[in-house]
């Protein structure tokens, strides 16, 4: 499963820049549309400037029906940041952003934030008094989020915003006093986009397609034959009916049972109660995701409340005992949290069971790189747009016109999805969700895993184990000891298979002339 490091809010500048390059092109086109097109097609966002927490606004309607709707509880941007396009509708055409930056105004917003990101909280607050423009920049929530997470590795008490959280944690006598400064006439695509992505709702058309195969009550052999062997995803129903977790895991129970235990959420470890306090209040582009591989060590009771569905019983990394890589996680997160496109490490397969809530899944087979995703040649780094919502806004549409459509579904409480090894996948929680996921190696993907571990850069790619370098040899030896002859048997089978034509997944599905040589794009 994706290491929590990849979900970090503060990616290395290099990756963020790559990500931003993709993004800012899109953002510019967002603004350009308004500038060059006639009033009819231009995007217009109206802000009345009143802070009405319950307002549900229609933001930006153009002829291609790209209406975005905001979450019902979205506050109109408290600092009045508007997208650059709106500047062209104002009679005065004055941008307080530029006025307040002086000769820094030629810098991009990202550059300014890069420098501000190196300052302390006190310094930011002092700078915020320089001008209204500085006030807006210095109030940018991600800056304060980084400060809080750097300072409070053992958890934090979230208090309505990251800025407030920092202040109340920093200095108890000072309760957060909000000056209520209202800045009008501040236009910036970057800052607006950040707020927009934090407050967008998932559009219905992003959720409509559900083309995964669903099965209920099939045998293990059927599963292996029809799905695991051919490496196809499937959604299994009815496997979780006997799980105590399905009955018990509501908030009160979890908080009580977990007590003082601290779970990994991004770069910090925090108590469950504190995490819920955060996830209930926060509204941001990439919420912190609680993702802990040691949850059973920390709270053994949680391990009693579920059992691995019989389809996934075979768990060959188990032969390594304590040396095995991380393999099971509890996943808790609010709507909007999730994982952007990735392939699970170590070439393992995975299952993901939703206990509460629901998740939207998008899966692409191993040979199809999703739109907007740019893996480095060795696969060690993946550059993606900043957030999952942004991917949906900018790239989901492309999947409609592609011949190679992704597998999509919504996985609800009580359902389990099987993610075959090597498949790209993206997940977003549609509501507060609690899930369990495990990665596994069975005889079907054993050879893949060994091949993966043999690679020269495997020690960099392998996640979740202390002794990365020797994992291949260790694993191979342990398998030979526990299941002598298995490896030879599997390798022989693989040789025989190779002799037949190798078709990619899509060819086998879309072309009836099985066996004909095909190019795959």
């Amino acid at each position: 499963m994706l290491s929590t490091r990849n979900l970090l809010l503060r990616p290395k500048l290099k990756n963020r820049k790559q990500a931003l390059k993709t993004v800012s092109r899109r953002r510019n086109s967002f603004a350009k549309k308004s500038k060059y097109e006639s009033g009819k097609r231009a995007v217009r966002i109206d802000f009345t400037g009143e802070e009405d927490e319950e307002k549900h606004e229609q933001v930006g309607v153009d002829e291609e029906d790209v209406a975005f709707s905001l979450k019902g509880s979205a506050r109109s941007h408290s600092h009045g940041v508007q997208p650059l396009g709106n500047l062209y509708f104002t009679p005065s055409s004055v941008n307080s952003r530029d006025v307040g930056l002086g000769n820094l105004k030629t810098l991009t917003d990202e550059l300014i934030l890069d420098v501000l990101g190196l300052l302390s909280g006190a310094e930011l607050r002092i700078l915020s008094t320089v001008s209204k423009s500085f006030y807006v920049f210095c109030s940018h929530e991600p800056l304060w989020r980084n400060l809080v997470l750097d300072m409070h590795k053992n958890g934090f008490i979230f208090n309505s915003s990251w800025k407030n959280t920092y202040i109340t944690a920093y200095n108890n006598p000072f309760t957060a006093v909000n000056s209520g400064i209202r800045v009008r006439d501040f236009y910036s695509d970057y800052l607006f986009q950040s707020w927009l992505c934090a407050n967008l709702e998932m559009k219905p058309e992003w959720l409509d397609r559900d083309n995964i195969v669903r099965k209920r009550g099939i045998s293990v052999d059927e599963f292996v034959l029809n799905f695991e062997e051919p490496n196809k995803p499937v959604l299994l129903e009815g496997c979780l009916d006997n799980w105590p977790a399905m009955r018990n895991w509501d908030r009160d129970y979890l908080i009580r049972v977990c007590g003082e235990a601290r779970f990994s959420a991004g770069p910090v470890e925090m108590k469950l109660e504190d995490y819920f306090r955060y996830s209930d209040q926060v509204r941001e582009e990439r919420p912190l995701y609680l993702f802990d591989p040691k949850f059973i060590d920390k709270v053994p009771q949680l391990g009693e409340d579920y059992e691995v569905p019989s389809y996934f019983d075979e768990d060959l990394f188990g032969v390594l005992g304590k040396d095995r890589p991380d393999y099971r996680w509890i996943i808790i997160g609010p709507a909007g949290s999730g994982s952007s496109f990735h392939i699970d490490p170590n070439s393992t397969s995975a299952w993901n069971a939703v206990i509460r809530g629901s998740k939207k899944w998008i899966l692409f087979p191993p040979d199809v790189v999703p739109p907007g995703v740019h893996p480095s040649p060795d696969g060690a780094e993946v550059a993606c747009p900043v957030s999952i919502i942004e991917w949906f806004m900018n790239f989901y549409g492309a999947t409609k016109s592609w011949k190679k459509r992704p597998i999509e579904c919504i996985c609800r409480a009580g359902e389990v999805i099987f993610v075959p090894n090597g498949w790209w996948h993206l997940v977003i929680n549609l509501e507060d969700s609690v899930a369990i996921t495990q990665n596994f190696v069975s005889r079907r993907n054993l050879l893949n895993v060994l091949d993966f571990l043999k690679q020269p850069n495997a020690s960099a790619l392998v996640s979740g184990t202390r002794d990365r370098v020797n994992l291949h040899d260790k694993f191979k030896n342990a398998i030979e000891t526990a299941f002598p002859g298995t490896l030879d048997e599997l390798m022989q089978k693989a040789m025989e298979k190779k002799k037949k034509q190798q078709l990619s997944y899509w060819d086998s599905v879309t072309d009836s002339k099985v066996g004909a040589f095909k190019f795959s794009f």
Binding site: L13, K14, K17, S96, V99, G100, L101, G102, N103, L104, L107, L111, D114, V115, L116, L118, L119, S120, G121, A122, E123, R125, I126, L127, S128, T129, V130, S131, K132, S133, F134, Y135, I167, Y170, N171, F174, V177, N178, S179, G180, I181
Partner: protein
Amino acid sequence: MATSSSNTNKADHSKNPPLTLRSSDGKELKIFRIVAQQSSTIMNLLDLEEESNTDVIPVSEVDGSTLEKLIELMNNHTEKSFNYLGVKERKKFYNDFFANWKILDVLNFGLVANYLGVQVIFDEACQKMADMIKSKSVEWVRKVFEIKNDFTPEEEEDLKKENKWAYERGDLDDGDDAI
């Protein structure tokens, strides 16, 4: 003209002749390929051209003296001794490099590094700017960057209250040194 550092591998000189960059004001500066690898912009440009046809690469966004300083710093980075510097020594190195620079020059330098895609130098320039701003007062910032205070007096009062805790740090510097 920028000279290559004497520690650069002699083999590179003969295999790969230096590239020539031309600044906005017409200055032509030589840079060895191994040094130029630090610039993702230059590397991207080279990808687009055939090996034999790399004449002069125009860098029209950058003036001659800044480009010269940047190449000097990039040369330093390729020296073998540089890689062995510890964290403190690296910090001292960059402090010395930026000593007595005015903040607007650091800013300009950072923008050039950004344009040429030299990540390490860009990061160091940002850090230097942050360090320079850290101890300065609001008045200093406004003066240096020519910013007009657009808060009303009432808003200023509100801000003071909101930020009371931040001012506990002590007196701030109004000095002109970096203008």
